[in-house]
């Protein structure tokens, strides 16, 4: 049944393409209905699934002569991320309700992106996963290049080239793994049990991890993220930060770590204090956390603050993965979900509520306009989102980051301290942005907003309530997701990861 998420999205694309030109209203409604239908399917699937074990959704031979199958399946990790995608997709459309320019095409690309993302999370054949992963690249380009703002063509091309360079690395390993495993199958379940030679895993693992990590904002390959997020239109930046970055993290976990766990083993020698790829990537993740936060602290553009905060928060995901502790990995998956919801919310406030009304994102400019009076709802939403984002207990960000740090404490105590520093800087930049954007002091020379800003519309309120509600729900009752995540991480698929030598 879950397979219908993909089909529904692409059917939606087809319907949108067949609509007559200039039918903006119809396009919005079709897009919203498609996204809601997709979400409904996921919700039903989520409720059905009791324990997060691997459930086959569809399995038919695709290219029999090469042993490649059309194999869709879901476990707790994919379900969590599907749920995230469904929620962000619906709210993203609500926040794009004011789209007028070539709206039909906008929503068509939007749904194509959603459909491919569903495909990635559901694929259990490596080739199929790769197909959907690359398919997701193209809509991103057009969404940013056509409907974007600041330096959109540059940002779009940068994003696409980074993504494609990453997927080229993945493709190299994909082809090599296919041949090494005997050219019979690319099924993830079978490949996970195939004993790849250690020296193969030693070069395959970093290649795939970096390849996917580029999309997850791995430092120093993160630079596409802030420019891309900033240039993208609101709906697209919600998807980019909320969902597409998770594609990368998901790939790191599902492909790199699940198939090549021995790549994390110690090298047996030390270079510059690094004893394994695990040390290297953990350090890169930590640098991402601290660096992203410090850069966010000095941004003048409101959207860049959120853009760099994404890099910082995604660092927690990657650090959590590298802890190789049960609690760290749980936290990483939970952080993917939490960051998806929260970054979506932050981008919605900045891009839709503030920028579309005030027509500036410059913090210095915004400081003069005293937005908390003009659009109190936006200010309120941002305060809640900011609190959630800095990890206030009661919100999803807290449970996720705490688990990551606990995991890191076991694995690399020093890094846990570093991550803590990152959180502190996170409070600082969030506070600074909030203060400047919404609560600027009405000092001398304040220009009262000449014409009152358009009020916050119903779709915006709806979208904001959905995202805040989900964040609070998970913050108060994380077991809702953990009950499927934990068994999934303990399935035989990840055996190699837990049984690695020296752990």
């Amino acid at each position: 049944m879950l397979a219908w998420t993909i089909y529904i999205s692409f059917l939606g694309v087809l319907v949108l393409l067949l609509l007559p030109k200039n039918s903006v209203r119809a396009a919005r409604i079709v897009a919203l209905l498609t996204a809601i239908a997709g979400f409904a399917v996921i919700a039903a699937g989520f409720l059905q699934q009791r324990s997060g074990e691997l459930v086959t959704v569809a399995r038919v031979p695709w290219i029999p002569s090469l042993g490649i199958e059309y194999h869709l399946a879901s476990d707790g990790i994919s379900l969590t991320l599907l749920l995230l995608t469904g929620i962000v997709a619906v709210s993203g459309i609500l926040f794009s309700w004011n789209m007028e320019h070539r709206a039909r095409e906008f929503f068509a690309f939007y749904l194509a992106l959603i459909g491919s993302v569903y495909g990635v999370f559901l694929s259990f054949d490596l080739l199929l996963l790769f197909v959907f992963y690359e398919l997701a690249i193209i809509p991103k380009y057009f969404l940013i290049a056509i409907w974007g703002s600041t330096r959109r063509e540059y940002a779009a091309m940068k994003l696409v080239l980074y993504s494609f360079a990453g997927s080229a690395m993945v493709l190299i390993v994909l082809v090599a793994a296919y041949v090494v495993a005997g050219s019979r199958t690319l099924d993830l379940v079978q490949l996970a049990q195939f004993p790849f030679p250690v020296h193969f895993q030693m070069w395959a693992f970093p290649l795939v991890f970096v390849g996917f990590g580029i999309l997850a904002g791995l430092w120093p390959f993160h630079t596409w993220a802030p420019t891309g997020h900033v240039a993208a239109p609101t709906g697209a930046s919600m998807l980019l930060a909320g969902v597409v970055m998770k594609l990368g993290a998901y790939g790191c976990l599902r492909v790199a770590m699940m198939l090549f766990p021995r790549g994390l083993d110690a090298w047996g020698f030390h270079v510059l204090g690094f004893g394994s790829w695990r040390d290297v990537f953990a350090l890169l993740a930590l640098i991402g956390i601290v660096y992203g936060a410090m850069v966010a602290l000095v941004q003048r553009d409101f959207k860049f603050v959120v853009g760099y905060s994404s890099v910082s928060h995604m660092g927690f995901v990657l650090l959590g993965l590298m802890t190789l502790q049960q609690i760290g990995l749980d936290g990483a998956v939970l952080q993917m979900f939490s960051h998806g919801i929260l970054s979506g919310l932050l981008f919605a406030v900045v891009g839709r509520m503030v920028y579309d009304r005030a027509h500036t994102r410059d913090l210095a400019e915004l400081e003069k306009t005293h937005l908390s009076k003009a659009i109190p709802f936006a200010a309120g939403t941002f305060v809640v989102a900011a609190m959630a984002s800095i990890g206030l207990p009661g919100f999803s960000g807290f449970v996720a980051e705490v688990q990551v740090i606990l995991g890191a404490w076991h694995a690399f105590p020093l890094f846990a301290v570093g991550a803590g520093v990152g959180i502190v800087i996170g409070i600082a930049y969030t506070w600074r942005a909030m203060q400047k954007a919404f609560f600027g002091a009405p000092s001398r020379g304040t220009v009262a907003v000449a014409s009152p800003l358009p009020p916050i519309t119903l779709p915006e309120r709806l979208g904001a309530f959905i995202l805040i509600g989900v964040s609070i729900l998970i913050g108060l009752y994380p077991q809702l997701l953990l009950r499927v995540i934990v068994p999934a991480l303990h399935s035989p698929l990840f055996d190699g990861l837990w049984k690695g030598s020296g752990r």
Binding site: W62, I63, P64, S65, L66, L127, F130, V131, E134, L135, I137, I138, Y141, F142, A145, I146, E153, M157, V160, L161, F164, A165, S167, A168, L171, I172, L174, V175, A176, Y178, V179, V180, S183
Partner: protein
């Protein structure tokens, strides 16, 4: 040699005979009855006759499949060769259908019959293992293509392109002939299989190496591989669009098939190896060098192009490089990967040339800026162009992606136990990541840039639109369900 009746020989080559008859019919009908009719009618009648001829030939091949090896390898018919013939005929049919409505020449029947004659020569090219017949059909093909390239008499560019093509072609033919003569001198035979049987030996004859290099120069010219590619950009740019599409598509398929046969059958036993740490001299390293050069040069130079035709030319050089991977890994799997890649590439590039032709007729140029805002002016053609460009860039689920995957995995699998060709595969994948940049640049002009003010939607004839959609559909379909073509190769 056994006695052999000419009638049964004619029976074996009946498909070729049918196409020749179709060419003569096109000529005579046009010259006898339609001399005074208007160009559109003449074009339609001629094209329909040509399509009917090709269809009849396909029908005959499907109806009575032949397996034969007559006259010491002069004519070798096997299921695979016949299927490639069918693919060539289908490509010709598409080319001819696109031709309807073109206005660049009044010599319609001559143009069409030349295309058909070129097709005949390609059909012979894929069904022979004899150096002499190979050379003859290659010359027939080249001569037809030279004229096709020069066919737009009003354009000096076309004449220049054809002259360049002719001169380079002549030189490369000389190289090829020299190489063939050395092979003959070494083996005392012109049959590929018997040449191979005399080549066994612990060490390679230095003369044989010279012969290999000469043959590679000659055939490298045909497939436009670097560094023998200098004709390609000019011909692609100057020749009439239909001719350029034809040169870029069908002739590539035939040439790659031939290259594979000459190298793998004719030079079996002199392969050598280009694996990392496992170098051994032979023809494989020669092909590997040419492949690597083509991939790097084609992709890097394509980035700088502003003319879409030249861009396609450099991308053709790059794709030639990828396809050569199929030759140098010389396994059965790599051969079917090569054919899959060459055929789908031919379809894709033919479709791209149709869009270029449409844009040129409407806006009078083929630079990127002439494509600005095409998606608003001709949404269907723009969408098809998106499919073609993305397929060339290797984005799944289009045919170009699967072709690359199959080709690369076949190349890696060709050295069992080790992954010695990994360096070439890495180079190829890295270069195809580069290629996305310039394909996206084309798409950026089509989809992102606004059309110049005051431009009306482009009118496209129903037939052309249908052919375009058909090609686009097959590119998508072959990518989503590669088995359709794979189980056939």
């Amino acid at each position: 040699m056994t006695a052999f009746s000419y009638l049964s020989l004619l029976h074996l080559v009946l498909p070729e005979v049918i196409v020749v008859i179709a060419a003569l019919c096109v000529l005579s009908v046009d010259l006898m009855f339609l001399r005074t009719a208007e160009a559109r009618l003449r074009g339609s009648v001629g094209a329909l006759l040509s399509v009917a001829g090709c269809a009849a030939a396909i029908g005959w091949i499907l109806h009575t499949p032949q397996t034969a090896n007559v006259l010491n390898g002069m004519l070798v018919l096997n299921p695979l060769a016949q299927r490639v013939q069918i693919a060539l005929l289908i490509l010709t049919m598409l080319t001819v259908l696109i031709f309807i409505g073109s206005t660049f020449t009044e010599h319609i029947s001559e143009y069409l019959s030349l295309i058909l004659l070129a097709t005949v020569s390609m059909m012979f090219l894929v069904s022979t293992q004899n150096l002499l017949v190979i050379f003859l059909s290659l010359e027939l093909l080249s001569l037809s293509l030279y004229i096709l390239a020069a066919f737009n008499k009003r354009s000096t560019r076309s004449a220049e392109a054809a002259l360049k093509y002719f001169i380079f072609g002549g030189i490369s033919a000389a190289f090829l002939l020299f190489g063939f003569s050395l092979l003959y001198g070494l083996s005392n035979s012109i049959n590929l299989t018997s040449i191979a049987s005399t080549l066994h030996g612990p060490a390679l004859d230095p003369l044989l190496l010279v012969a290999i290099v000469m043959v590679m120069v000659g055939l490298g010219f045909k497939v436009a591989a670097a560094p023998f590619h200098f004709w390609a950009p000019d011909v692609y740019q100057g020749a009439p669009t239909i001719s350029a599409g034809f040169i870029a598509s069908s002739s590539k398929v035939a040439s790659f098939f031939l290259l594979y046969q000459v190298m793998v059958i004719g030079l079996a036993g002199a392969e050598g190896s280009s694996a990392w740490h496992g170098y051994a001299s032979g023809w494989v390293p020669v092909v590997a060098i040419v492949a690597a050069l083509s991939m790097v040069l084609g992709n890097l130079v394509a980035i700088m192009q502003t003319s879409v035709r030249r861009l396609l030319a450099y991308s053709a050089i790059a794709h030639g490089g990828y396809t050569l991977l199929g030759v140098l890994s010389h396994t059965d799997q790599s051969f079917s990967a090569l054919l899959y890649y060459a055929i789908t590439y031919a379809l894709t590039v033919l479709g791209a040339f149709v869009v270029v032709a449409l844009v040129e007729e409407e806006t009078g140029g083929d630079t990127l800026s002439h494509f600005a805002g095409l998606s608003r002016r001709a949404p269907v053609a723009a969408f098809c162009m998106m499919i073609f460009m993305l397929s060339l860039a290797g984005i799944p689920p289009l045919a170009g992606f699967f072709g690359k995957f199959y080709l690369f995995s076949a190349a890696l699998a060709s050295t069992p136990g080790t992954i010695g060709l990994l360096w070439l595969v890495i180079l190829a994948i890295a270069m195809s990541a580069v290629s996305l940049y310039y394909y996206l640049k084309v798409l950026k002009y089509i989809y992102v840039t606004d059309p110049p003010a005051g431009t009306a939607p482009i009118r496209i004839s129903v037939l052309r639109q249908a052919v375009l959609c058909l090609i686009a559909l097959s590119v998508v379909l072959l990518g989503c369900a590669p088995n359709l073509l794979l189980h056939w190769l």
